[in-house]
Symmetry: C2
Subunit: 353 residues, 2 copies
């Protein structure tokens, strides 16, 4: 059988600031390729959905020191890396069948030949409202990241008041639900951009959501955090993090998950309220979900997330993901929506034929 | 018996940036006062030595929010707060005798009337080289702070490579000795200002001390920290902290002890390399020695410090403290030396008659 033809998006110009989607300096470029036939224990898969994650921005940063990143950066000329859900078209492995859905780090490609051990079979469960896309969202690295930061890193309990930034986003919306509906935290405060997103966050269970685009944001956040907070789940970094350092209770814990506010900037600003960390004995911990996956901890957490969904404590309906039907040639621009703050919940690309 | 007359330094103008020692806007002003006679369980003491600590700068910051500081700020019109060693001139308490040496938070005053329970008796031991001043230094809050940060907060072990900033200072010089001579750490790297201080730090046991005033500082620090470091004991904050975030090993720990580089500035700069905390899962913990004193942990640590001194593992000789003979009217300017980086080891004011 001749090799499968496919289009692939490759990293052509690693960006220093904002990624560029058109013109001669475009960050990515499209190429045609022919795949080899799958060998023993390999699969030929067709990509159905792509996961869009702020972390991908870090993987392509120009000049990043490979020693300092948690995964090897994507090299110039390589296929853009991405989590994905695919259908198995052809299997040379005993453990996986043709027609099965699998997830893995397949990248921005229409088709791929992958080792079966790099493809995790997934099972949608429509009666519980669990769709395939949830395995790259609420029940995948996104939900696991929320669990990791909130429960493992920040050791959050029902007695705590919790603030979640990026609360309408993929990880944030899961963190809010976990805090309020699973842990039963005393008070859960979301931070999101715009009235619509804030209403969404409150609909998930947050006691209040503060709009960072409002001119009264600083006063609103101070009011919402009166008495100070024990836990801050930080998805954004930058100025909001700096402000939150002044709102942490003594011995408060910050789960440092992301810094999307700074990914496309050139290191302007910076955290000025560092002394708060000392004076109020604040603990900051950075974390990356890959550690929990590698150590096996994530398996148990995944089970707890599925249970919470089945018990109705976590909503994974259409409102916690934004699935954008996308022609393959528009894959990069759909990803770019992440940085415009347009989506609520997980931003998923559905590849249209 | 008539009340003891005394001079006292009071906080007259809380500073926003650099403290001012002369003129109408001077930070402190001198006043004459007459003390009451000591009541039951009280002492009349004569101050012999004052402890000079960067933390005192925070206690007098203009406009600081009392809710956010770990101790009540010093109020305008109050005596400047300071740890001190004093001699008991008169005792109305059964537990303390006249002539005994005591330490406590007596402040910038020549004489004070204090509750006996606020005065901790101390005992010099010349045969072990332990002098009274060591109880506000190597064997007091300074040494305990080094112990707290290095061993309790950062959980340092012999397998770790450790960087200590402000390494020629009071806390830093103790942290270097604890790391190298008590814990036996794999490699101990000091950061200090100038060749003389660096030589001092290396004489304490550091494998190398890097001079932050050298034009090749960044390259020198990178070289010294090749392979990255597990523990950073941070006394300075600011740019050096920012650089150190790029030199931490994965899962490295930062004990956030002080930020003297920023105390007299108006929040310029700021920490830009926050993303390193996430990508390399760095843990940052602020701490204040008062917690360990209140919880009783510090008692045991003090015993270990005294033992290490007696075993010759920690040097507390004259080279680890700078005792400055000072007329009472010059107490503020001696304290101001802290921010000029002039002293090595603990800066102690000895009050001259």
């Amino acid at each position: 059988m001749p090799g499968q033809k496919t289009r692939q998006w490759i990293l052509s110009n690693p960006p220093q600031a904002n990624p560029v989607f058109t013109g001669p300096n475009a960050t990515f470029s499209l190429r045609d390729s022919t795949l080899p036939s799958p060998g023993p224990d390999q699969l030929l898969v067709k990509i159905l959905f792509l996961s869009n994650d702020p972390a991908q921005r870090g993987w392509i940063q120009k000049g990043i020191d490979p020693e300092r990143l948690y995964v090897p950066p994507v090299q110039q000329g390589e296929i853009m890396r991405s989590f994905a859900i695919a259908e198995v078209l052809e299997s040379k492995a005993n453990t996986v069948n043709q027609g099965q859905l699998v997830m893995g780090t397949f990248g921005w490609t229409e088709y791929a030949v992958v080792d079966a051990k790099e493809a995790r079979p997934i099972q949608a469960d429509p009666s519980s409202g669990i769709r395939a896309t949830h395995f790259i969202g609420a029940l995948g690295v996104t939900g696991l990241t929320a669990y990791n930061g909130l429960i493992d890193v920040a050791r959050t309990t029902a007695a705590d008041t919790v603030v979640v930034s990026g609360a309408a986003g993929a990880t944030g919306s899961m963190a809010v639900q976990l805090a309020k509906n699973v842990l039963g935290c005393k008070k859960v405060i979301g931070i999101a951009g715009g009235a619509k997103k804030c209403a969404f966050v409150e609909s998930l269970g947050a006691d209040v959501c503060v709009d960072y685009k409002s001119p009264s944001f600083v006063a609103d956040l101070k009011k919402a955090t009166e008495g100070f907070v024990q836990v801050y789940f930080d998805n954004v970094g930058g100025d909001i993090l700096d402000l939150m350092l002044t709102r942490m209770a003594r011995h408060g814990r910050v789960a440092a998950c992301g810094a999307v506010a700074t990914y496309n900037s050139l290191g302007e600003g910076g955290v000025k309220n560092w002394f708060e960390i000392i004076a109020n004995r604040i603990e900051i911990k950075g974390f990356i979900i890959l550690d929990a996956i590698e150590s096996g901890k994530a398996e148990q957490w995944m089970g707890e997330l599925v249970k919470a969904v089945k018990e109705g404590k976590i909503r994974v309906g259409p409102e916690t993901e934004t699935v954008v039907g996308t022609r393959f040639e528009d894959v990069p621009t759909t990803w770019g929506m992440l940085f415009e703050g347009g989506n609520t919940g997980k931003l998923v690309t559905e590849i249209k034929a």
